[in-house]
Amino acid sequence: MTATTDTQAIMAGDASLTAGDTTGGSSTSVDFSISLSQLFVRLVKNKLFGFLTFGIYRFWGKTHVRRIMWHGTSIGGDRLEYMGTAKELFIGFLIAMVILMPIMLIAGLIVDFMTAAGAESLAIGQVLNLVFLYTFWQFARYRLWRYRLSRTSWRGIRFFLAGSAFKYAINVLLWTIVSLITLGWGYPLLQAYKLNYRLNNTCFGDGEFRYHGTVKGLYRIYWPAILIAQIIIGGTVAFLYGNDALDVSMESGVAIDQGQLQFDEQSMILFGIGGLIIFMTMSILSFAVKVWEFRYLAEQTTFLNASFSSILSVRSVLMIFILLIVLGLIGYVGFGALIILVLKYQTEAAIFVFVLAFFISYLAFDILKMLFLIVPLVRAVCHSLTIYNFEVFEHTAANAENSPKYGEGFADAMDVGAF
């Protein structure tokens, strides 16, 4: 016996609408909250069943994880719904197998032969293989987004991604070549293309998202990073070269191979410090740039009258990674201790324990990555978002656009995407 609650409370989803009022329209936030224990149990099950079924279970496992993640996300109080099924994924995979196996087989054989036939053709073969895989990977990613968006619904209305995956992949390849030739200065052009194509093709029901960002805007974000990266790499190489720590002649590689040439200790230390500086700076820079880019794209995107903003901070993203690195270090130390113990006792039991620990940590890696990296990142991104003029979404009608029948086969075969 109930039904005494008033309409106001039932419309709880809309309660936040009136809270933050800007520019006359209503604004709302995006929430992300899931049960970590539920997700953990699910991930463990996925690992076990996946192993027992030679990987076939992964389609069912993935679908369960996505349902948890999607349903944990709510916009204006209404949850996203993941409508994809494992069957679609599995059959998409089978179709991809039928199509992909011959293609990959021939590509693999060609590269293999170039590898075997000598150093020159090896280089050509490797480059061709890389170009092929890179392009195909972009293609698969686009199709993956399309499938996921088409299986994402909010308030009973589905998202969709229009456009051509093939066209996207070819253009990304071209812009990637441009940014490689220009030593990184073309990278904002590549990003501009990607954001433009992806966002302008994203639809919700019969409404289309629009991206208004400019190449200039991206350069404003990227130029310091590109410059700093070049200075650091150039500087470090010059420094190491000046200290004879790095002999860049071709012969040195051969000499090292044959054990004729060895780095002295001091050079090794310099080399290590140089590497560490490069690695740290580049990591922090890439996080920062990605965060700024995300905020830029949020600000530059509109949906009819609605606009977006994000207050994602570099610090919050860095903290997630630092926590992960600390966890990783603890894991390494524990593993090191275990190796020492095994070496000390060298009994069969110790070796068994070691193998078992290795196996468990192998299984645990993906689970930890999900729980400590992906979930916190998704949470941070969701919580940083604000949507203005939210009420325009209410006027969106469903679209009759065809959605893909089976999903993600290529992406799955290529191992694209985190979950």
């Binding site: 196996m101 087989l105 009973g156």
Partner: protein, 368 residues
């Protein structure tokens, strides 16, 4: 009467509607604010679309293809609804013929896998092996030999130059022996060359292009020159049929297919390796059978007695049983020893010795 207010999305627009729900005997009645009846949602098809259990909210739907949703967050009402509708959180019953796409595409994938492994890959590897020009095969052979020499030198802890045995006249006699055997082949090989490597293992390999590698352990093990000659004839037959090149091609193909099939499953690499070994050894068994037959023909053509190969092979099989080297060994991938012995016994004892006693002792001393 059990009722609750709820939010209704009609699946046509994203606009929320406030509705009044009422539980009747077999259906959920949905009325709008003003009391007009919007519809009856039968319990038997009613399902909760939410993923998390224990949530105090349900998202009701009446069909997989139906996008209309009713969101209820009244826990008392949800409890009552669960009683009326026990299937609320169960899976929707599968439609008739649900298995068809699985069967068609699964069958298609399985069929293409079988066709691939049974016909396409062997055919392709044979064609590629034939198509690859002699100089490239010779290059691959030379590279592989260099790799072998290097890794054996590393294992035996000796400089690479001394890993190749060249003492005395042994090499000369081996060269003569191999050219006598090669004379029986219908076509000339680009590079017939025997190299003896100083290592304890009893093994011999054919490399692309016609190079043969013999481990000194095999020479130590052989009691008669004809046993060694039989092994060389077998390896020469591999080279003639371009088996090494075919093996490289088919292994690359198998590896590609398995890595695609297994995706990112934990232990996928392990499973892929197992699968590769299973399929790969099936191929190599075919190659071995072919090489055995041609090897016998070569021995016959050179008028060498092949019967001393029988005890040598049996010793090698026994040795390899005990001392599993882990690398691709001559015996592992070969057809069963008994089967091969039968084949050799059928070949009889015609012919004479492959080397004179003096020549044989020179070969025996090649690594000294």
């Amino acid at each position: 009467m059990i009722t609750s207010l709820a939010r209704f999305f009609d699946g046509k627009t994203a606009k929320p509607h406030s509705v009044l729900l009422e539980l009747t005997e077999t259906t959920l009645q949905v009325k709008n604010d003003t009391g007009d009846m919007l519809g009856y949602w039968p319990y038997e098809v009613l399902r909760d679309q939410n993923a998390g259990k224990g949530r105090d909210e349900v998202s009701l739907s009446v069909g997989a293809g139906d996008h209309a949703r009713i969101i209820v967050s009244d826990t008392v009402f949800i409890n009552e609804l669960e009683k009326k509708c026990p299937d609320l959180r169960k899976r929707r019953p599968t439609s008739a013929g649900w298995w068809k796409p699985y069967a068609y595409w699964g069958g298609g994938a399985a069929l293409s896998l079988i066709v691939l492994f049974a016909f396409v890959l062997p055919f392709l590897s044979l064609q590629i092996a034939r198509w690859v020009p002699d100089d490239i095969r010779a290059d691959i052979g030379a590279e592989t030999q260099e790799f072998f020499v290097k890794s054996i030198a590393k294992r035996e802890k000796i400089p690479p130059e001394t890993a190749i045995c060249m003492s005395g006249d042994g090499q000369k006699h081996l060269d003569t022996l191999i050219s006598n055997l090669a004379a029986g082949l219908p076509e000339e090989l680009p590079e017939v060359e025997v190299t003896v490597l100083k290592t304890k293992g009893a093994n011999a390999f054919a490399l692309p292009g016609g190079r043969l590698l013999v481990f000194s352990g095999l020479i130590d093990l052989a009691d008669s020159p004809n046993g060694l000659a039989g092994v060389l004839a077998h390896e020469l037959a591999h080279a003639h049929h371009r088996h090494p090149t075919q093996l490289i091609v088919s292994n690359a193909g198998i590896a590609t297919v398995f890595s695609l099939l297994l995706g990112d499953v934990s232990g996928g690499t392990f499973l892929a390796t197992m699968g590769q070994m299973a399929v790969g050894s099936a191929y190599s068994r075919d190659y071995e059978r072919e090489a055995d037959e041609t090897g016998i023909e070569l021995m016959r053509a050179a008028q060498y007695d092949i019967s001393p190969m029988i005890p040598l092979m049996q010793t090698m099989a026994k040795k390899n049983e005990v001392n599993e080297t882990g690398v691709l060994s001559l015996v592992n991938t070969h057809p069963g020893t008994e089967e091969r012995v039968t084949l050799l016994e059928e070949a009889g004892t015609r012919g004479g010795p492959a080397l004179s006693p003096e020549e044989w002792s020179a070969v025996k001393a090649i690594c000294k």
